[in-house]
Amino acid sequence: MSGSTVVFYLLGLMSIVSAVLSVTSRQIFRSAIYLLFTLIGIAGLYFWMDYQFIAAVQIVVYVGGIAVLIIFSIFLTQQSGEQLPEVPVSRAVAGALAVMAGLALVLVLMDRNGFTGLSDPGPAPSISAIGEKMLDINGYALPFEVVSILLLAAMIGCIVIAMRKKPQV
């Protein structure tokens, strides 16, 4: 078992375990921190696959942006030290049952299909290739622009939604 294999399993284990903790923890702040670990673990997996750019984006956007945003909103809306209510057993069982069944189904499907993939995938694409493709008319220039407009719209939308309404005179 090579070092990289060990690293892979560690990363995968870290992601899954912290994900489980994230959805089960009754302390919402801890939950967010576990999520952070999961995201970092996933970024690690990207690094493991040699997709440095994606990994960097993952860290910048998710870890640096979304996770911080979530923590920020927790501070805004939650009393400190307050615990989330316990999940009723019936609901937990129903959810777990559904999830187990779904997971089993997906694993069965994956097992049937095999998904062997290439054993030696070769080098990952370079960042410059991604950049060129991003701005190529025949590549992803249009979705790129569309997403930029979407982000702008989302930004304005957030401001409008979260804006404190003036009391009606």
Binding site: T38, I54, V57, I70, I130, L150, I161
Partner: protein, 105 residues
């Protein structure tokens, strides 16, 4: 089963993360934790895209681009969701989804 990490292993990690996210989404009642579950679900999908890109079509970049766009949209979604959450908190003094049920029936 092959212990050498390959496509299948990534897919398993993706599937497990996806269903963990589903579990969280189904059981939690707090809007922020539900949002976190959704982020988990999106991430599991991203893992699949990257894995497929790497192990099945290494010459192309489409998987990577999908991931980039999903991340961008997830960021927008998170921002809007948090704006809504804050607004809800302002009006209901709570972010439990069960308190926001005026439209029921």
């Amino acid at each position: 089963m092959n212990v050498e990490p390959g496509l299948f292993h990534f897919l398993v990690i993706g599937a497990v993360l996806f269903f963990i996210g589903i579990y969280g989404f189904l059981t939690r009642r707090n809007l922020i934790t539900m949002l976190m579950s959704v982020e988990l679900i999106l991430n599991s999908v991203n893992i699949n895209f990257i894995a497929f890109n790497k192990y099945l079509w290494p010459g192309t970049l489409d998987g990577a681009f999908f991931t980039v766009f999903i991340i961008a949209i997830a960021a927008a979604e998170a921002a809007v969701a948090i704006a809504i959450i804050i607004n809800l908190f302002r009006s209901h003094q709570s972010i439990n989804v069960e308190v926001a049920e005026e439209m029921k029936y």
